[in-house]
């Protein structure tokens, strides 16, 4: 299991979507809805070259947070979580690098495979930057009620 509390890992596995918040140029937070893939103890997201602004923000400031707040998009798994992360972008091979996520991603969203099929018509949809999030701290609300104090965890402590 990754260096994350088990319920948090379950939520990440189940979540169709979550929200990535980055620090914008002007210091304000900017939130992007994205599909998370939990793999090898890290959270992976992808962004096409068409939507590369978030990549510029992450390169300028890798501090991010990722939350799962939409209780309807996590199937039968309940709860909410916010994960403070350090982000890293991988731009070595925009064409193929991200494709290793396809097996896990397509389980959540089968249309991903159709996107690859449309490469001739929309080539840049399939040129994607990989975003790797390394969790630092988590705040978990088992019943999803953020008015109650969360269960806070430092991710590295779980790993120990």
């Amino acid at each position: 299991m990754p260096a994350l509390p088990y319920p948090v890992a379950r939520l990440l596995d189940a979540a169709l979507v979550g929200e990535l918040t980055v620090v914008g140029r002007d210091g304000r937070p900017i939130t992007y809805p994205m599909t998370p893939v939990l793999w090898s103890e890290r959270i992976y997201l992808t962004s096409s070259a068409l939507d590369s602004t978030k990549i510029a923000h992450i390169k300028a400031n890798p501090r991010t947070s990722f939350s799962i707040t939409q209780t309807g998009a996590t199937g039968s798994v309940g709860g909410r979580v916010t994960i403070q992360c350090d982000a890293r972008v991988s731009e070595d091979d925009l064409h193929e690098d991200w494709e290793r996520l396809i097996p896990a991603w397509s389980k959540k969203d089968p249309s991903v495979r159709a996107m690859i099929g449309s490469r001739l018509a929309f080539p840049l949809l399939s040129e994607r930057i990989l975003i790797e999030l390394t969790p630092r701290k988590t705040w978990y609300w088992p019943d999803g009620d953020t008015q109650k104090p969360p269960q806070a965890t430092v991710a590295a402590e779980v790993a120990r």
């Binding site: 620090v23 994205m34 590369s52 909410r80 925009l94 001739l120």
Partner: protein, 596 residues
């Protein structure tokens, strides 16, 4: 389609027509939008194409000057034409390779968004966020902040984001209420976090999970502002900036095109960082196929093969030179396509075109950063080089003054089509140039290679309907490009004329083509068997109906453009069969005058 999931925290009053969010939704219904679109003229669209891409948090017009009233900074503006989603667009764009889920999302009637919202929103499948221009609000004369607040009414649970003391951003779901009376958002602060006095973002996101996996109906609304504390743990946010994205208001193909300049900038920046050129990749064969627009070769093969058939029917046919003729003519056509992309890119026409389809707007390989202008120029020169070399071989083998004249005319038309100083297509002569080049020049050129220089009346007459119909391919394909073309001074006929005149022009050209075939056959200039070509008349009527129905909708018109290409191909093939029947009769059946 599956019903939207009704989730905890989603209000049940969304279907109430009195609900402010429902009002906003109904204002964004496709029909009123379509009316607004059709009322706007092409020049508005050209202005729209030059608008910079919008980003969350930096959308022009949504960031008021310091101290100004954010609601007053954005007056209602004339709305540029936008592609109007129709159910047809789903089918048509699906044929272009879109994922069904995304097509459905991008073409869905806006009114369906009255279903419960508030579950989630993602850009995982096909991410098309980062464009904050909301059509619905602008049509209603709302500021971006007002529009965003009207949409946020639909959400009970939103994501509150801020920058924490340690410099990391935080985002937590909170229950929020929009207070329309003072344009604020009120919410309970999340337990254990200090947010008083901070700049925060409040984001409402939505997708509709689908039963077989994935999601559709993506939308995303964010407002920014400083938060202040109220008694009993409540907070209030006065938004000063907003950002809105809704799939339903901009079809995916248009959203894709809008993002291309940003994507090119990204690749340029990445190339600078890396110190070497970074480009998107495509299989070289697919790239060549797309760059040369090879499927359009039917426009060349039809006149050449008919010309060869006429020559054969008249007793002149040499397989080797016939083959070389087909290859040479194809090379000219591919070179023309590549050169056309180069000059349209240099003129800005292809960049200005936000609604290209698979039949119009060029190959887009330069716009997609797949190859450079220089590489495309080299491709055009290579194609022309092959054509010239083969032309010289043909001239050496079957040279004649007629062939020289036709070749010179063909080269002049091909080069002058988009290249300065002639720029025929920019002067409204593109249709005429195409009719001549892909009609008489191609057909008679193929014919005289075989005949050794003589020209028969039958060949001249047969070239006319083919020329007219191939010009109609260009003519119809220019309809969705007219906004971008107008913006760069490309005065094509659809730019100069209104819908009624354009449709009338099509009808007249097609009727003339069929009339030439009929009269030519009756007069004995063409074999009677060429009357087979009249079987394509129902297809032409279908194209007419498609033009009338889908004139304003580029994506729906794609189907009509395909039919129109099929019309040219069908008439050409039937004429060719007419000549093959005549040849068969001459050599085997001797049924003249019934077919020959």
């Amino acid at each position: 389609m599956s019903p939207s999931l009704r989730l905890p925290g989603v209000r049940s009053r969304h279907s109430n027509g009195a609900d402010p969010a429902a009002e906003a939704v109904s204002a964004a219904d496709a029909s009123p939008a379509a009316e607004a679109v059709s009322a706007a003229d092409a020049s508005h669209a050209a202005e729209a194409t030059s608008a910079p891409l919008l980003e969350p948090g930096e959308a022009p017009g949504t960031q008021p000057e310091q101290g100004s009233d954010p609601r007053a900074e954005r007056a209602p503006e004339p709305e540029p034409p936008r592609p109007t989603p129709t159910p047809d667009a789903v089918r048509v764009a699906a044929a272009a390779g879109f994922s069904p889920v995304d097509l459905e999302a991008s073409t869905r009637p806006r009114a369906r968004r009255r279903q419960p919202v508030g579950e989630a929103r993602a850009d995982g499948g096909v991410p098309i966020a980062e464009d904050g221009e909301a059509l619905a609000g602008r049509l209603r004369g709302l500021t971006a902040v007002e529009d965003a607040l009207a949409r946020l009414v639909a959400f009970d649970d939103v994501v509150l984001s801020w920058i924490a003391e340690d410099g990391y951003p935080m985002n937590v779901a909170v229950r929020a209420e929009v207070a329309p009376q003072d344009d604020t958002i009120r919410f309970d602060g999340p337990a254990g976090f200090q947010i008083h006095g901070r700049h925060v973002a409040v984001t409402g996101t939505h997708v509709r999970p689908l039963p077989d996996g994935g999601f559709d109906e993506r939308s995303h609304v964010t407002v920014w502002g400083r938060v202040t504390a109220r008694p009993r743990g409540r907070f209030v946010l006065h938004p000063d900036r907003a950002w809105i994205w809704d799939d339903a208001e901009l079809p995916l193909p248009a959203a894709y095109e809008r993002r291309l300049p940003k994507a090119r900038r990204y690749f340029e920046e990445l190339s600078r960082e890396r110190g070497y050129r970074v480009r998107p990749r495509m299989d070289p064969r697919q790239l060549l196929f797309r760059a040369t627009r090879a499927p359009f070769l039917s426009a060349t093969w039809v006149p050449v093969l008919v010309g060869l058939a006429i020559a054969a029917q008249e007793g002149h046919f040499d397989p080797a030179t016939a083959f070389l003729t087909v290859v040479a003519a194809s090379s000219v056509h591919l070179g023309l396509n590549a050169a056309n992309d180069v000059f349209d890119t240099l003129a800005g026409a292809d960049d200005a075109n936000e609604t290209p389809t698979r039949f119009s707007g060029g190959s887009r390989v330069i716009q997609n950063a797949l190859i450079s202008v220089g590489q495309m120029s080299a491709l055009a020169l290579a194609c022309y080089g092959v054509a010239v070399a083969l032309g010289l071989v043909l001239f050496a083998l079957r040279g004649s003054f007629a062939l020289a004249g036709l070749a010179a005319l063909g080269v002049a038309i091909s080069v002058g089509y988009t290249m300065p100083p002639a720029k025929l297509v920019y002067r409204g002569l593109g249709e005429v140039a195409t009719a001549v080049g892909f009609g008489p020049v191609m057909l008679l050129g193929a014919y005289v290679v075989q005949s050794g220089g003589s020209v028969s009346p039958g060949a001249v007459v047969a070239s006319l309907p083919i020329g007219l119909l191939v010009a109609m391919i260009l003519y119809v394909n220019e309809i969705p490009d007219r906004a971008g073309d107008a913006g760069v001074g490309k005065r094509t006929l659809p730019v100069r004329l209104g819908k009624r005149e354009v449709v009338l022009g099509f009808d007249a050209a097609v009727a003339s083509a069929f009339a030439v075939v009929g009269l030519g056959a009756v007069a004995g200039t063409l074999p009677l068997s060429c009357l087979l070509a009249l079987m394509a008349i129902p297809l032409s009527l279908e194209v007419h109906r498609g033009l009338v129905r889908d004139y304003e909708n580029p994506y729906a018109l794609t189907h009509t453009m395909a039919l129109n290409i099929r019309l040219h191909f069908t008439v050409g093939v039937l004429l060719w069969f007419g000549y093959v029947a005549a040849i068969t009769d001459q050599t085997l059946l001797h049924l003249r005058p019934f077919v020959g």
